[in-house]
């Protein structure tokens, strides 16, 4: 049994403009000591997925009937707010994108870490402080005895993100959900944080759910990948499969659209258009209006997640109709990165 399992998660936002199906039938699981990457562009529902797992979806958002999130065999969607509070921060912790706004500016960082310890563990003030120093050291903050009394604004962005990670680790959670933990940071600092996450996973045996838009980050730290588009999982599998032989045209397009310093090509490949609004997903395959292979079937019927073997799944009719792929590619290049100039 997986440590954290999400089955058919549907989180809808009931707004004036209609029902926004931000997350619409998402399933995935994470094992102990594993790093699962959830990738997608803005508006694909990856952040709402993580908030749903944490039970932090606020009005007008709602987790719909029939959704299931189990942690260690326990169903989380039916828990009361109070029970959920016991899980949150204790068993499942989360770190956010913006380390500045996630820390309270009027308290020293040490106090903020101790607070979590005293709340969940009932530690005394002194013990909590000692442990806070220990945690700061764990996340690689130099001179933790001094840093523990500093305020968030006295720390750099990278340091703040480390403090956030220390806070998340305070109660030794089994699952760490990291929502774009490095997006606001510079590349060299990002490298430090990724290194740290990797190291912590190894030492503490945590499961990490890494939510990001950056395929490079996923490739570097994840074991398995879930690619999301328009509130659904469009492809999932081991990291090698997703990057080595991506099956879904969206995954292929995303990969081809990333410029690489080691590969100078002509024009970048482009996925035309943008993610449609969640109040009005397209019928059939939700990617069809941006897909170079789209044909009648894709416009009418939503494809299921086809099993490609070896834990690799793809929500694309091309799996059943490989002839269409050949047919289209015979007439024009698709996602080749346009070597032609």
């Amino acid at each position: 049994m997986a440590l954290l399992e999400v089955r058919d998660l549907r989180t809808y936002f009931h707004t004036e403009g209609g029902v926004a199906k931000a997350v619409d039938g998402v399933s995935f699981h994470v094992e102990r000591g594993e790093v699962l990457g959830i990738v997608g562009e803005s508006g694909c529902g990856k952040s709402v997925t993580s908030l749903s797992v944490m039970g932090l979806v606020s009005e007008p958002g709602r987790i719909e009937e029939g959704s299931s999130i189990t942690y260690d065999g326990r169903e989380l969607t039916t828990l009361s707010e109070k029970e959920m509070r016991g899980i949150r921060g204790n068993d499942i912790a989360m770190i956010f994108q913006e380390p500045m706004t996630s820390l309270n500016p009027v308290f020293p960082v040490g106090d903020q870490i101790s607070e979590a310890l005293r709340l969940h563990r009932g530690l005394k003030k002194k013990e909590a402080r000692g442990r806070a120093i220990e945690l700061l050291q764990l996340v690689g903050i130099p001179v933790p005895e001094r840093r523990v009394d500093e305020y968030p604004h006295q720390l750099s962005g990278g340091m703040r993100q480390r403090v956030m990670i220390a806070m998340a680790l305070a109660n030794e959670p089994d699952v760490l959900i990291a929502d774009e933990p490095t997006t606001a940071l510079d590349v060299t600092i990002q490298a430090q944080i990724l290194e740290l996450l990797d190291e912590l996973r190894e030492r503490l045996g945590m499961a990490i759910v890494l939510i990001t838009h950056d395929l490079g980050v996923v490739a570097e730290v994840c074991d398995r990948v879930v690619v999301m588009y328009a509130g659904q999982v469009v492809e999932e599998g081991p990291v090698g499969d997703i990057f080595g032989r991506p099956s879904h045209p969206y995954t292929q397009g995303l990969l081809a659209a990333v410029p690489r310093p080691d590969r100078r090509e002509g024009t970048l490949a482009v996925i035309p258009g943008t993610v449609p609004p969640p109040t009005n997903w397209p019928t059939g395959c939700r990617f069809h209006d941006r897909c170079p292979y789209a044909w009648d079937l894709t416009r009418e019927k939503m494809p299921p997640l086809f099993d490609l073997g070896g834990d690799h799944r793809s929500r694309c009719w091309l799996v059943e109709h490989p002839e269409r792929r050949e047919e289209v590619e015979r007439t024009r290049p698709v996602f080749t990165g346009g070597a032609a100039q």
Binding site: E41, D186, R203, G216, A219, V258
Partner: protein, 370 residues
Amino acid sequence: MSELPVADVLAAEPDEETTLPPSKGDSDLGGRTLEEVDPGDALVHVRGLKKHFPLRGGFLSRIQGHVKAVDGVTFWVGKGETLGLVGESGSGKSTTGRAILRLIEPTEGTVVFAGQDVTAMDAEDLQALRRQAQIIFQDPFASLNPRMTVGDAIREVLKVHGLARGEGADARVRELLRLVGLRPEYASRYPHEFSGGQRQRIGIARALSVEPEFIVCDEPVSALDVSVQAQVVNLLEELQQRLGLAFLFIAHDLSVVEHVSDRVAVMYLGRIVETADAEQLTRSPKHPYTRALLSAVPVPEPGRKRERIVLPGDVPSPIDPPSGCPFHPRCPHPLKDQDCARTVPPLAEKAPGQFAACIKEPAYVAPTGS
């Protein structure tokens, strides 16, 4: 799991000046510097550009120091060429871009645009410059007035510069929107009605309305999603080809800069630490910072275990930059020694056409003195 293991200190404190090993000898201060190179008829030539922001504080807001945002930068951009300017936050790359256009008054140095000294221009000359040199901003939403329609925003530019009026202006607005791949009907809409990528296209259309020769692109795709980013990058490249534009492309993302640029300059703490042809810079970087930066860019290719150089510590504050080479506290160079903390490294030629500010890299000497 009650006892947590103690990790190694990943991030060392950047106060190592005193603990640096004694001189290892091999410092090389020679080589042609960038200042000595004659770029020929460059469209934009920036020499020794500095921008120091005064730091005020205390009772009567007295000046208490300076933030050396840009501290002596030299480069040029040729006609129809793209120079990429990369650096992390606080490196001074955006300030450089704005100082060139005099949106911020430079403290020192000269900027020559098409033979004219921008730093010496009066209001009238500046107005003329605005027709030739333009800027595109990072946040396409913040750079459009929320209370003006797209058409009005562009028409206003045409009017101010006396380029077109009435019917002519309307036609030009439609033409410009089409040029950047938007429907001409969008002219009557407001900025908030567009997606990020479309807003950036509007920003580009507005910059193009004066038919400039040179555009500073200040992080134009940083706020966009990957697939949309590719669309805008392609649009910029296509426009450059068709209209013969020169770009100063500022970004923190080395992969994007490398992709669009002919030449690249890497900035660190207000200085250029390396500049070279884009391909050469990626293939054989000379400065240890460039190397670290290149290795830190995550590449979507799992399993390809590259040696990643993880730099310790953070970028130091530009208020009180380290002595000597500003990069030395974080520098992983094996030959790093006391000299690095003492000597400000000149931006010298380390390979043909490749300039790096590192005294531990041997200088390039041309075979015959020419």
